[in-house]
Amino acid sequence: MEQIYTNEKLSAESLKPKKSTIEFLLSYSKALSVIKYKKLEFETLLN
């Protein structure tokens, strides 16, 4: 039998962010709201 001596490469499938990371980003986006009042900018992060 022929042997494969090369190292196993990281598959394209594995080079993706974790589901939890994406969920965090989406939650962060939903929680963040920026309110502008005249020249002032207010950031609120509601959990």
């Binding site: 990281l10 394209a12 080079l15 993706k16 962010p17 974790k18 990371t21 994406i22 965090f24 980003l25 989406l26 962060y28 986006s29 939903k30 963040l32 709201s33 920026v34 502008k36 900018e41």
Partner: protein, 193 residues
């Protein structure tokens, strides 16, 4: 071209408040951005962190309405990721750290050689006991023992120094050890820690 347009549409939708548009944007480009970061840092955990920070910047900029690169969403995100990768390496250059892996832990090699307080106290007590025992030996035996054990002299040198034959020096050393053992037994001293 179609995708570029769609990106700009999605960005516009997101700015208007459509959260679903962000999900589509992230899912569409996550692989490219993640791969790009991984190709620079070669560490999945760090890649995950930088990926997250990249999109936090993206979200902050879009929500504040500071985004003005319509139609160039991906290159813009890539540039943010690139800058964060540079920041990561700069930070590590200032504060290099070694991270052990599962197979190899640096702390198995590097250890604190100093004794802890308890062991230090025991060591001091043992040394004091030994010193007292040696003081209890007859002068000629004590002299030979100190020369041999503490001054690291050979029996030939000891013999010459004390003006006796080598056999006498050897005999005194032997009796010194026998007497020390007797004193240890008699006083029930423990000389180990």
């Amino acid at each position: 071209m179609e995708q570029t347009l769609q990106d700009s549409v999605l960005v516009a939708d997101y700015i208007k408040g459509d959260e679903k548009a962000l999900e589509l944007l992230i899912n569409r480009h996550s692989h490219r951005i993640y791969s790009f970061i991984f190709s620079k840092v070669y560490d999945k955990d760090i890649t995950e962190d930088i990926f997250q920070d990249t999109f936090i910047k993206v979200i902050n900029t879009l929500k504040r309405g500071n985004y003005n690169e319509e139609g160039k969403f991906l290159p813009w995100v890539m540039r943010i990721a690139h800058n964060l990768v540079i920041d990561h390496f700069r930070k590590n250059a200032r504060m290099p750290k070694f991270e052990g892996s599962d197979d190899f832990n640096i702390f198995s090699i590097l250890g604190d050689q100093a004794l802890n307080i308890e062991k230090q106290i025991i060591k001091d007590q043992v040394e004091t006991d030994v010193k007292n025992l040696i003081d209890g030996l007859p002068d000629d035996q004590r002299e030979v023992l100190i020369m041999r054990m503490y001054k690291d002299m050979s029996f030939k040198e000891i013999a010459k120094h004390t003006d006796v034959s080598i056999n006498t020096a050897l005999g005194r050393m032997r009796y010194a050890i026998i007497n020390l053992r007797k004193m240890v037994e008699k006083n029930q001293i423990v000389l180990t820690n």
